[in-house]
């Protein structure tokens, strides 16, 4: 893969805006870090003036130690063949942000997914409702403070096996020594 130059439209926009940092992480990938106030405007410019019409995904990361959620908007340009990832952080307590559905229709799916899994509410998103976890009334499960493994241990029973070979071993003084859950970290 040869080193490709960023297209001029993108560079113009990125230079124009304050409150953002960008760097090219690989020939076709650009990482942008932007404040949460500036992100919607950035996306509008990227779509309107720099051909980034495809919203590939919105990813959410729970940085519980920083008390923040990171939202990452992955945008693709069919013209310059670059993928721009715009990173922003929002406070974990309020967990609210603005929907970009007006700009990008696919956002509705990802925003609903993040709403269900992380509990981040997107104002203006058309479907702030349950989709996958229809019958789940616990905390948003993808948050780091939800311990799925502990929930499973509490909620479900392990299959208790006691086959003949094990009974024989127990008679000889052997038997189960280390259960699998004991070595899980």
């Amino acid at each position: 893969m040869t080193e490709r130059e960023l297209d001029t439209h993108l560079v113009t926009i990125l230079r124009e805006l304050e409150s953002l940092e960008y760097r090219q992480t690989s020939p076709r990938r650009v990482r942008i870090d932007v404040t949460r106030e500036a992100l919607p405007g950035l996306l509008e410019l990227l779509k309107g003036r720099a051909s980034y019409v495809h919203l590939s995904a919105i990813s959410c990361v729970d940085w519980i130690e920083d008390n923040e959620f990171e939202l990452v908007y992955h945008l693709w340009s069919y013209e310059s063949n670059h993928l721009v990832s715009a990173h922003t952080r929002i406070p974990r307590e309020t967990a609210r942000y603005i929907s970009v559905y007006d700009l990008y229709k696919p956002a509705a799916f990802f925003e609903r997914d993040i709403f269900e899994m992380f509990g981040v509410y997107f104002e203006g998103s058309p479907h702030m409702e349950k989709f996958i976890l229809t019958e789940w009334d616990g905390p948003p499960p993808m948050r780091k403070d939800f311990d799925a493994e502990a929930y499973v241990q509490e909620t479900f029973n392990w299959q208790s096996y006691h086959p003949d070979w094990l009974k024989e071993l127990e008679e000889e003084g052997g038997g189960v020594a280390i259960r699998p859950e004991e070595v899980r970290r």
Partner: protein
């Protein structure tokens, strides 16, 4: 860009084309199970002969499908790193990813080409299987997914340790092994599969898996914290330990074991000495108990006991005959293996906790046993083995026939002696190597050439010395002769020692495995030497006990009789270390812990002088 004409309505005869299908072979699958391919991932096979029960398969299993089961009939040998555990698979959870196969340190597990198991609801127990080499249902199926060099996820090669070359080390006592830097230590530590065989094999049960993990996670301080749980001689053991952990390491069954000893050394060297002191002091009892304990001897056993007892809040005083503490690690091990400043650091940590050491205080001369008994609540005897055994062959009483331990002590203390131009060392153990290599260095310094002959009873493949020691001794110019039995030291007319006569050894032990060497007297050799050094073993000097106490104590074949906790027949006296177990530094540390625990427990409940 479609290449077919979908607007074409086709011919009216088109349906007739279908008649051709009568002539084609139908797609038919047989009713029975088809034979699986050669790398199929079916049910597990486990070769019980090579399975060591390390449980690595259980750790890598992503679905928690593996339970380790204790099988009483299976072999158990902690020294070799073999546990009587075998993996049992829950086929309700297994996903046949075969990571267990790829990660198995001994290549015992494989997956077979058997893949059908059917049962009714009341036979769910049949989902839980203990695989052997026989297959899931007792019918042997061929192996499917097995370990190959490509699939193997175990790193069998050790990170290389930088060392001094023979030419740059043969005339000095500089430390040979350079030690790992942070990156190599991390890489070496990350080879570990955390099976804990090392912990089981270690006499003092060091938490090696935990400190290795701390090292690869980049937290050497935590590693030091784990070490001080079980070993206050971590600098010493990080350099000269007999590393039984590495003999037991499960990676060692097919490859090079993890360099556990060097990793311990790395962590100790990586953490600042003052910080080590703070870590060692963690968990110390703040309220003094008012009990006083005397320890005789400041070697690893005595100081370990002192370390433990002082942390429990007792007052400990140590009595050392020589001018420096450390015992055998200082006076028996040459500096090129263990620099004295490292030993000093270990001792400094212990004394910083308040252990008081009386130097050049010889019990039986400067103080008597009875005064210790009267002044202290308990006494620990940790005097080590400081007398060299003699071959008692003709001429061995000559002044130039020396005991290795005496010479090594003189070298440490820098006491002057005439360095022989040529010397013969008798013995094939580590002490023999130590004195041979030390003399070789002194000869090189003084005369510019080495003339040392080492004769051992054992054939080369059965030497008691560490193979690395033998290799390095050869590199440094020591001539090593195996299967040679010493017969006589030859003394000339002027009474000067000329050398040693040996016969070839036919066998060392008799049929009852007793020591009874047989020689071939026709194969006699003479080895020239101005000095003969005997390095065939050591014994304890118990004269310090005094007549009355010696009389009162119970003995077992010339050795002090102690119970499992190291307590003698006198309720106030414990004994620990080499004088009980024979020479081994880490064993001595373990012993120190044992007597300390025993003393602490006894002092908590009773006054030992009134028992």
């Amino acid at each position: 860009m479609s290449d077919i004409k979908y607007k074409d309505k086709g011919s009216i005869l088109n349906p007739l084309k279908t008649l051709q299908f009568f002539a084609r072979k139908p797609v038919t699958e047989p009713l029975g199970p088809r034979p699986a391919t050669e790398t199929y991932r079916g049910f597990h096979l486990n070769d019980w002969e090579s399975c060591i029960g390390c449980g690595t398969c259980q750790k890598v299993c992503d679905n928690a499908a593996i339970t380790m089961v204790h099988v009483p009939e299976a072999k158990e040998d902690p020294i070799k790193g073999i546990r009587p555990l075998r993996p049992a698979i829950d086929y309700g959870r297994c996903c046949w990813c075969a990571l267990c196969v790829d990660v198995c340190p001994t290549a015992a597990i494989s997956l077979s080409r058997e893949y059908v198991h059917v049962c009714t609801e009341d036979q769910l127990d049949s989902y839980f299987m203990l695989p052997s080499a026989d297959g899931m249902h007792g019918t042997p199926y061929p192996e499917g997914w097995t370990k190959t060099p490509t699939t193997d996820l175990v790193d069998l090669e050790r990170e290389e340790m930088p060392e001094l070359e023979p030419q740059s080390r043969s005339d000095n006592f500089d430390e040979i092994v350079a030690g790992y830097d942070a990156q190599h230590a991390l890489l070496e530590a990350s080879r570990c599969v955390q099976c804990g065989m090392c912990h089981d094999a270690c006499p003092t049960h060091m938490d090696a898996p935990e400190y290795i993990r701390s090292i690869w996670e980049g937290r050497p301080e935590d590693a030091v914290r784990w070490m001080y749980q079980s070993n206050p001689f971590s600098h010493v053991c990080g350099r000269v330990c007999t590393h039984r952990c590495e003999t037991a390491c499960s990676i060692g069954h097919r490859g090079e074991p993890i360099a556990i000893r060097w990793l311990k050394r790395y962590a100790m060297d990586a953490v600042d000495h003052e910080r080590v002191k703070q870590i060692a002091a963690e968990g110390r009892v703040q309220v003094p108990t008012g009990k006083r304990i005397a320890v005789i001897g400041s070697g690893p056993a005595g100081l370990t006991a002192a370390f433990d007892l002082v942390k429990k809040g007792h007052e400990v005083e140590v009595f050392e005959r020589l001018e420096k503490a450390g015992g055998m690690p200082r006076f028996g091990i040459p500096e090129y293996r263990l620099p004295y400043d490292k030993l000093d650091q270990d001792i400094d940590v212990i004394t910083s906790l308040g252990v008081k050491i009386h130097y050049q205080c010889e019990i039986g001369k400067d103080r008597s046993m009875s005064s210790l008994r009267d002044e202290f609540d308990a006494v620990v005897l940790a005097i080590g083995l400081q007398l060299g055994r003699s071959t008692r062959i003709p001429g061995s009483e000559h002044i130039q026939v020396k005991a290795a331990v005496d010479l090594l002590r003189m070298i440490t203390l820098r006491e002057p002696f005439d360095i022989p131009k040529s010397a013969v060392v008798i013995g094939g153990g580590n002490v023999a190597m130590d004195i041979a290599r030390s003399l070789a260095r002194l000869q090189k310094q003084t005369y510019g050439e080495v003339q040392i002959t080492l004769t051992a009873l054992e054939p080369r493949d059965q030497f008691l010395a560490d193979p690395v020691e033998v290799k390095e001794a050869l590199e440094e110019g020591v001539t090593i002769l195996d299967s040679r039995g010493p017969q006589a030291c030859r003394i000339d007319d002027q009474g000067r020692l000329n050398g040693l006569c040996t016969w070839r050894v036919l066998s060392i032990f008799d049929e009852q495995h007793r020591f009874a060497p047989q020689y071939d007297s026709s194969d006699e050799q003479f080895h020239e030497g101005e000095m003969v050094v005997e390095a065939i073993g050591q014994m304890a000097d118990v004269s310090l006990l005094g007549e009355d106490l010696t009389e009162a104590l119970e003995w077992n074949r010339g050795r002090l009789k102690v119970d499992e906790a190291g307590r003698t027949s006198e309720p106030w006296l414990w004994s620990a270390g080499d004088c009980v177990n024979g020479p081994d530094v880490v064993h001595a540390v373990a012993d120190g812990h044992r007597v300390a625990a025993s003393i602490d427990a006894c002092l908590a409940t009773q006054d030992l002088h009134e028992v």
